[in-house]
């Protein structure tokens, strides 16, 4: 489903990804762990199409298509979703308008009928309930005045509505207390199934107690240094990246 081969990328002339290989089959959840500066966030931005990164080599195929040739909105319509580490505030853009515009933009690109305001509200309300989100979050500006936990829940709400086939969770656990972590994890787990894969990027093993991965990869210095089962996360927690990845 997602296949990355020999990916190299740089920003401002500095090479960050140095020949990264990774494959995520349909229906699997993979975790990427690694120290600061290893290239975790760069990988998530390169995959989602943020400007400013120079791809110098390698390839990424997603559902058999060249992901790197697509605009960010086309990647989203193809089923890719990035849950931001730092969700962006959009003053003046109501959350409901934002969610509905996004959902209908994707449905349009996928050739599906758009939802009217009533259909959308019904869907959004039921998803919000599952994520224990107060309904007034629909009326507020996107992420404006949201707490850290609310912003992350809003990311998971977007994911639940847009229904991606691959979700990249970039440090979704950062800044979350244990209750919020559980809610967010349940939101992700609810989507798991044969048509849903996830790339969970995290510093800490803690999140992986709640979102249990099929595979764990260690990203060090721009490439995958080691891969293993879920027990690799525990090993990393106990012995540190330096020893495990050496």
């Amino acid at each position: 489903m997602l296949k990355i081969e020999g990916l190299t990328a740089e920003i401002d002339g500095k090479q960050i990804l140095k020949g990264l290989d990774l494959e995520v089959p349909a229906g699997e959840v993979h975790a990427i762990m690694g120290p600061n500066g290893a290239g975790k966030s760069t990988l998530s931005y390169v995959l989602s199409g943020r400007e400013g990164y120079e791809i110098t080599g390698g390839s990424v195929t997603f559902h058999g298509k060249d992901l790197l040739a697509m605009e960010p909105e086309e990647r989203a319509a193809s089923g890719l979703f990035l849950a931001f580490q730092y969700p962006v505030e959009l003053p003046g853009v109501g959350n409901a308008t934002f969610l509905r515009t996004a959902l209908n933009a994707i449905r349009r690109q996928r050739g599906e009928p758009e939802l009217d305001a009533m259909q959308f509200l019904k869907l959004a309300r039921s998803r919000m309930k599952e994520l224990s989100m107060p309904e007034d979050m629909l009326k507020r500006g996107v992420n404006v005045g949201f707490s850290g936990g609310e912003k992350k829940r809003n990311e998971v709400l977007q994911m639940a509505l847009l229904n991606p086939s691959l979700a990249i969770l970039d440090e979704t656990d950062s800044g979350l207390d244990i209750d919020a972590l559980k809610i967010v994890s349940e939101g992700v787990n609810a989507l798991r199934g044969p048509g849903f894969s996830a790339l969970v990027i995290t510093h800490y093993q803690r999140l992986l107690n709640y979102i249990v991965p099929d595979r764990v990869h260690v990203l060090v210095n721009g490439r995958i240094a080691k891969s293993g089962g879920k027990e690799l996360a525990l090993e990393l927690e106990a012995h540190g990246y330096a020893e495990v990845a050496a």
């Binding site: 989602s48 605009e71 909105e73 959009l90 003053p91 003046g92 934002f98 847009l162």
Partner: protein, 413 residues
């Protein structure tokens, strides 16, 4: 000063040729004197350093056509309306019983420098009619529309309506003013408002300026606000080749308030200038100003905002914000906020931001499947929403939203 005396000669000759009934005589004299003295200023005059009016002095304007046009009018939104076509007050198209401007004679030229500032002086020298809205004490006059339309066949006319709005104690009115005309014609619309707000009265004034792309729009609004009274102005400055939009407000009694907000939508070949002058002349008054400009192509925007707090105006609460969004490399915004404060117990703040669309916000929207063009439109709309949302009247707000959308569709096309 002598160097500039001659540039308004064509206007002065026209003023001389006008019939001058007694009621307008004093005003015209003041205007002619001021115009002869200072002409239409160029950029050497500080208040016009970003907006040169000499192109208006050099332009040739013709007389209004003799035959009265019957343009298609937009649907009436207010309780009543007054319609000007090609600068002529049309009782036959208006639903508001017109009151002759001569009834307002004692007020003419009495509202703070409404005869002597250059834009107002030009009007004073040449004004022949206008709307006189006289709301008795305690009356709520509802929504009144003031419509100005220039027709296709009118040519490069010049017209100078002088509107007078007087609210008695505790009265209220909402004015929705729209100005429209054909593209590619160098006509001049030079309206001046004199607004007198008595104690506890409220005047809410929304203006949608969508003059044709070749037009000149030189406007000056002058308001005096008594104790406990409010004057609210929202101006959408979207049309004309050169638009100068001045507002002079004086807070003259305790607890008077003034809100001056607006948006400027400026495209290729356009200059839009908003210049505000706010005089806090009494204690315990509040003023709020938020102006937002969106500039495309080689559009140029200007915001000049001066707040003068007199020594008596203790406990003044003033706020002024000016923000501009530059959507192209060639667009330009000039901003000049000024505070002059003589009272010591004052809360006054101002700020300005000028920048491009935020790349993080744009990427966030696109990563959610929203195509780039739509994402940009959402962010521009959001930028303007904050300004338009402050307009209390729903009909006015809807008209503004419509005008903003229409402009954006034209830009994005």
């Amino acid at each position: 000063m002598n160097a500039m005396t001659s540039n308004a000669e064509a206007f002065l000759r026209r003023a001389e040729a006008l019939a001058t009934p007694a009621w307008v005589g004093a005003l015209r004299r003041q205007g002619v004197e001021a115009l002869a003295r200072s002409g239409l200023p160029n950029r050497r005059v500080e208040a016009y350093r970003y907006t040169d009016l000499t192109p208006v002095a050099r332009a040739e304007f013709g007389a209004a056509p003799k035959a009265l046009a019957r343009p298609e009018l937009p649907a009436q939104r207010g309780r009543a309306r007054m319609v000007f076509v090609d600068g002529v007050l049309r009782a036959d198209l208006s639903t508001l019983p017109p009151r002759p401007l001569s009834d307002a004679a004692p007020l003419l030229g009495t509202v703070e420098n409404s005869a002597t500032a250059p834009v107002a002086a030009l009007n004073a020298a040449l004004a022949e009619d206008g709307m006189f809205l006289d709301i008795p004490a305690g009356e709520n006059a509802g929504l009144i529309e003031l419509v100005s339309i220039v027709t296709e066949g009118a040519g490069p006319i010049a017209f100078h309506p002088r509107h007078v709005v007087r609210l008695g104690e505790g009265a209220s009115v909402t004015i929705l003013e729209t100005c429209e005309g054909p593209d590619g014609v160098g006509y001049l619309h030079n309206p001046v408002f004199e607004v007198v707000v008595a104690e506890g009265a409220t005047c809410a004034h929304t203006r949608i300026q969508r003059e044709g792309q070749g037009a000149y729009f030189l406007s000056s609004i002058h308001a005096r606000i008594a104790a406990g009274g409010t004057y609210d102005n929202f101006t959408l400055n979207a049309g004309a080749k050169l638009a100068r939009n001045e507002i002079h407000s004086a807070l003259e009694g305790p607890k008077a308030a003034c809100h001056m907000n607006g948006a400027q939508l400026v495209g290729q070949g356009q200059l839009a200038d908003t210049t505000t002058f706010l005089h806090h002349a009494a204690p315990d008054c509040a003023s709020r100003q938020t102006y937002k400009s969106v500039l495309t192509g080689n559009g140029r925007g200007v915001f000049q905002g001066k707040i003068l707090v007199a020594q008596v105006a203790q406990r003044t609460d003033g706020y002024q914000m000016n923000q501009a969004l530059l959507l192209s490399e060639d667009a330009e915004m000039d901003a000049k906020p000024q505070l002059e404060i003589y009272a010591d117990d004052v809360k006054c703040s101002h700020g300005a931001t000028i920048g491009a669309l935020d790349e993080n916000q744009l990427f966030y929207l696109r990563s959610r499947g929203i195509p780039e063009k739509a994402a940009r439109a959402m962010l521009v709309q959001a930028f303007l929403t904050e300004a338009v949302d402050g307009v209390a009247d729903e009909t006015c707000r809807a008209a503004l939203d419509e005008a903003v959308m229409g402009w954006w569709q034209g830009v994005a096309a």
